[in-house]
């Protein structure tokens, strides 16, 4: 009777997994469909409204016109050029931000003296709205690529720094003790205990950092650029081409989601052990 608890739990798990397939096939496709339903209805609705002539769709172009704009840009080769420019900036800024954030976060997390020295300054800098750096960066680094990449790197730096430091500080003392019992050296302790323990939070901080990177690339490109998706936005505004603005926004959404997904997929093999990841995939 005492062994009931695990058995019960097991059987209920089994029941779940055996009962799951039949409705889950429906659920697997139906559930994401539910999310698409609202935007789809709105898009089709707006398309109809314009098509039936109730609106000229000049300021809010219908989906077909946005799509046509994207195709047009793609055909002329402009789209590839703008995407490449933007991706390059995000990529470089992200790389610099991640390297700096990881290094300083790791030092502050691992070494409490460094944390006391460093962290208050970093936190103070973090309190500054990052866009406030723009004029200074332009003065220091010029109007071209360097200042843009620096701005993106600053945006990426803070979430990564905070994520790494917080993750190291919250590593379970009990697990570290297991490492001590087996007499791990300093480097072995880092490699075999700290790194794997920190990884889930690190991946989250990378994703947050990347999100901010995309945010700041728009800011950087709005300030002054001759190419890039942000430039498309600005150009669309100045020349009164809302379809081009919306096209750029759609591409931002796709690229942002895609790069985020890339991080998630790249991290997945290392995080299979986690409860949460398996469940999130199943849901």
């Amino acid at each position: 009777m005492i062994s009931d608890a695990p058995v019960l739990q097991q059987s209920s798990e089994q029941a779940e997994s055996t009962a799951a397939p039949a409705p889950s096939r429906l659920a697997r496709y139906a559930r994401p469909m539910l999310g698409i339903l609202l935007p789809l209805i709105l898009a089709v609705g707006w398309e109809l409204v314009v098509w039936l002539g109730y609106s000229n769709g000049r300021l809010v172009p219908p989906p077909s016109r946005i799509f046509a704009t994207i195709l047009e840009l793609a055909h002329s080769g402009e789209l590839a050029r703008h995407i490449a420019a933007t991706l390059w900036r995000v990529g470089l800024g992200f790389a610099f931000g991640v390297v700096a954030g990881t290094a300083l976060g790791a030092i502050s997390g691992y070494w409490s003296l460094a944390r006391r020295l460093l962290d208050p300054t970093v936190q103070a800098l973090r309190a500054i709205p990052s866009l406030a750096w723009v004029p200074l960066f332009i003065l220091w680094l010029g109007i071209f690529e360097t200042s843009k990449i620096a701005l993106i790197a600053v945006g990426v730096f803070f979430p990564v720094y905070l994520g790494v430091m917080g993750a190291i500080l919250s590593v379970d003392r009990k697990v570290v003790e297991v490492g001590r019992v087996f007499r791990l050296s300093g480097p072995a302790m880092i490699r075999r205990i700290l790194l794997p323990a920190v990884l889930p939070a690190y991946v989250v901080s990378l994703r947050v950092g990347l999100g901010l990177g995309w945010m700041f690339v728009v800011a950087a490109e709005l300030i002054g650029a001759s190419e890039g998706l942000g430039y498309l936005l600005l150009d669309g505004q100045q020349l009164g081409k809302p379809a081009q603005i919306l096209a750029a926004i759609v591409i931002f959404a796709i690229l942002g989601k895609l790069t985020d997904w890339l991080i998630e997929v790249a991290a997945l093999p290392f995080l299979r052990w986690q409860d949460a990841f398996g469940r999130a995939k199943g849901a």
Binding site: I2, S3, A5, P6, K174, V175, E177, V178, R180, V181, F182, R183, A188, R192, I193, P196, A197, L199, F270, R272, W273, Q274, D275
Partner: protein, 261 residues
């Protein structure tokens, strides 16, 4: 032989957890340490493990002073403390990183077999029940073949049925290489089932109060009258260790101080 010589521990906040604890423990002996809460059982165990240093006194294993974790001393904690990112097999092999892969795999496979979890080798720790996880922890601690194995209330978080099961299992594993076992527990039954000698501790500050030899052959019948006798004498000793303590505590602590706790 493991020798504890007047081991004392005072924490930085002034609490004296352990006062001049001395004992000599022979190779292969099974010792149970029992006592009321706050009697310094775990403190003592951590000092033997080299995880905390004693404020005074020495722990020596075969005339080698123990001040930090030692290869010949293993420990099993109250929780399994498995590394969640390693498979069951890799958890068991965690302390064998220095061995060649083939030898390690072989030892791990044998240990898995021995604790009856051969089919769980590739499972993640989260997929194990509490009892299974603790068996993996036992295997992990035993696989490097320590001379001394410390157990800090290893079965207290398990249900009574699983606990009995694991106690028998532990004895079975112990018989393979016969390491010295030092088991901290607050379960009298567990102490009498497992130990050659029960050390009763007395709290505040923790010190040795009584020793009871358990002269019963193994396997021990939990229902025999002799077993009951030993249980009763341990219980009596435990009661006395706590009763005697009452006037002591009143004498050393004013009424105001008690309010802090």
């Amino acid at each position: 032989m493991l020798a504890l010589d007047r081991v004392s521990k005072t924490y930085p906040n002034g609490v004296q957890a352990l006062a001049r604890f001395s004992a000599e423990i022979g190779q292969g002996e099974i010792i149970a340490i029992i006592g009321g809460s706050g009697c310094g059982k775990s403190t003592l165990l951590r000092a033997i493990a080299g995880l905390d240093r004693a404020s005074a006194g020495t722990v020596t294993l075969d005339s080698e002073a123990i001040t930090s974790p030692h290869a010949k001393i293993g420990i099993i904690f109250q929780e399994p403390r498995l590394l969640p990112w390693l498979s069951v097999a890799d958890n068991i092999g965690f302390g064998l990183a220095d061995l060649p892969a083939a030898e390690r795999r072989q030892k791990v496979a044998r240990a898995l077999e021995r604790v009856g979890l051969a089919d769980k080798a590739e499972a993640w720790p989260r997929e194990l029940s509490g009892g299974q996880a603790q068996r993996v922890a036992i295997a992990r601690a035993l696989v490097p073949q320590p001379e001394v194995l410390l157990l800090d209330e290893p079965f207290s978080a398990l249900d009574a049925f699983t606990r009995r099961d694991l106690q028998d299992h532990l004895l079975d594993l112990w018989a393979d290489t016969r390491p010295t076992l030092i088991l901290v527990t607050h379960d009298v039954d567990e102490a009498v089932v497992l130990a050659d000698r029960v050390l009763v501790m007395r709290p505040r500050p923790g010190r040795l109060f009584d020793q009871i030899e358990i002269n019963l052959t193994r396997p021990r019948d939990r229902n025999s009258p002799l077993f009951e006798n030993f249980k009763r004498s341990v219980l009596t000793s435990l009661d006395r260790s706590l009763d005697r303590n009452v006037p002591d505590r009143d004498a050393t602590q004013g009424p105001g101080q008690a309010m802090w706790w």
